[in-house]
Amino acid sequence: MSPLLPPEVSEVLENSLVAILTVVNEKGLPISHPMLPLFDRETQLLYFTSSILFSKKLQHIKNNPKVSVLFSCREYVRSKNYHIVMLKGDASVMDEDLSTAWTRLLNLWRRKEPYIERYLKQRYAFPLFWERAIIEVRPKTIYVWWRGDLSSEPTIIKMEEAD
């Protein structure tokens, strides 16, 4: 298990509907993608699933695992407490079993998009969309702007030190 994140940060990660995942392309430039974040409190790891239809980011992560993820915008975070969180971390792509491996994250996904089951039942309609790789992000450095206040210095948490 990874080191424990502060509970306030876990709350934001668990309840965010969207996060900005930034990867590094082959030219060393940042590329950002809005994605549905899935945080597993047990493993303290952050997950995304990416259809192979939108697979450029997977290749980018394979070439350079350094990523950052931003959780911001009050309306997108469905929890009582709100903080802006940006984390930097190392990502890995799991794509040996594109058809079923990601379904282990379905419980986390369902919590954020309750209608997902309905679409999954029509898997035959969009077969390639449901071939999905898992992106696993291990947080290394976390920046927290408490209560979303950007005019205050962020708290910086180094996860390796906390281990």
């Binding site: 509907l17 969207v18 900005i20 930034t22 990867v23 590094v24 060393g28 430039l29 940042p30 590329i31 950002s32 809005p34 259809s51 192979i52 239809l53 939108f54 697979s55 450029k56 997977l58 350094k66 990523v67 950052s68 993820v69 931003l70 911001s72 915008c73 309306e75 997108y76 469905r78 802006i84 940006m86 930097k88 971390g89 794509d95 040996e96 594109l98 058809s99 079923t100 919590r111 954020k112 998009e113 309750p114 209608y115 997902i116 898997r123 035959y124 309609a125 969009f126 077969p127 390639l128 969309f129 449901w130 071939e131 290394k140 450095t141 702007w145 950007l150 005019s151 210095e153 962020p154």
Partner: protein
Amino acid sequence: MRGPSLLEKFEQFALSFIDEDGYPASIPVIVVSADEQIRLKVPRGFDPRKLEGRTANLIANHITPLPSGGYTDRRYIVFRGRVHLVEGEELQFETLREYGWDEHRTPFPEYIEVSTNRARAYLESLGKKLGETFKPQLGLFWSFFRTVRLPFLLATLAGVLVGGGAAFYRGYFNPVLLLLTFAGLAFIHMGLNLANDYYDTLLGADVVNRRPTPFSGGSRALIYGIVSASEARILFSTFFAAGIGVGIYLALLRGPLEIGLLIVGGIFLSYFYTAPPFKLAYRGLGELAVFTGFGPLIVLGTYFVQSGSLDLTGLMASIPVGILIMLILYVNEIPDAVFDKEAGKKTLVARLSKPGVMTLLAVFLLLVYLFIAFIPILRLGPPTVLAAFTTAPLSLRVFRNVNRNFGNQYAMISSMSLNVKNSVITCFLIAAGYFVGRLVYGVATL
């Protein structure tokens, strides 16, 4: 996108750049203005002076969270460029390139469709790396369902039931032969669907179609990689061979010449519907081919297997069925027309303007009921076939629905669904009319 609309249409703004530690950083930014230049303020913790001249991207994102959970109205824009320090601690973003997605402009199914090649390439490279062949996994049933377009077999079933019903009305009924006829025709229909997909993919008509629907644009089984081209060839050849095999058995049993001719005609229309050199569908003959195949060939063929004769009773029963099944194709061609034109597939719909298509649709629908009315008038069937007139209001709804949704590929899904229902129910009512007629009026003699 610039100006106030950038600030109105998006709430989440993030600036991403490669930080000093080599990791990308995505920081929340406040967009101060977005008129001619985009001006930003970065949060505390990041020194704007250190960002001077950096290559970065600015993402503007929007979703509308739903009270029941989840979200809708997805859109985002990514601006790629450089940041420059201006007065105070503000940054100016110099945009060099921008891209994005708005689901109201490019509906999600289309967004998926245009990314198909990337997915196929990913599967291929993964396959090479792991020494395996990767395909989208749907399970055997759903792969079969999708590849052969299983629900469309209702069109064959409808024709077989009408042919069987007309023969029953004349006093002939062999349920085993009826089942065998359906099995043989179903094989040929599945061969037709697969050969159609194979050649439409090869000739580009399905490939250029960015807005397929469950009713139009082919099964996409080849495009999505559910079956390979060689597997498709093997499958359609096998289906045709199985259909011919059943046909030969029936021919030996009931009449080699008549059934032989019907098989040759059926296979010719099924294969050359899209296959070169005839490519009937590409020359505006697809509708005639479908009318002939699903009308006279299937209905009359079934009628002949049951009764041993080719006569006006069977022929008359086949005409409304042929028109109704042809209408399924005709309406399904409407959303495809723009892409069919691009691929040089000159279907009847692709050749006509909207008023032309709608006029012809009205004429075809009227002809269906006219021919149904002629069945009892000419004493070629019982008055009970007139039960099919109960779908006239549904036909009217089809016409209005198609007229309303014409030009909107995704809205046309409801029109196509309604049209399929109308065609199949009308055929089933004609068939039921023959069966009930025999029970009410007794066996009819010529």
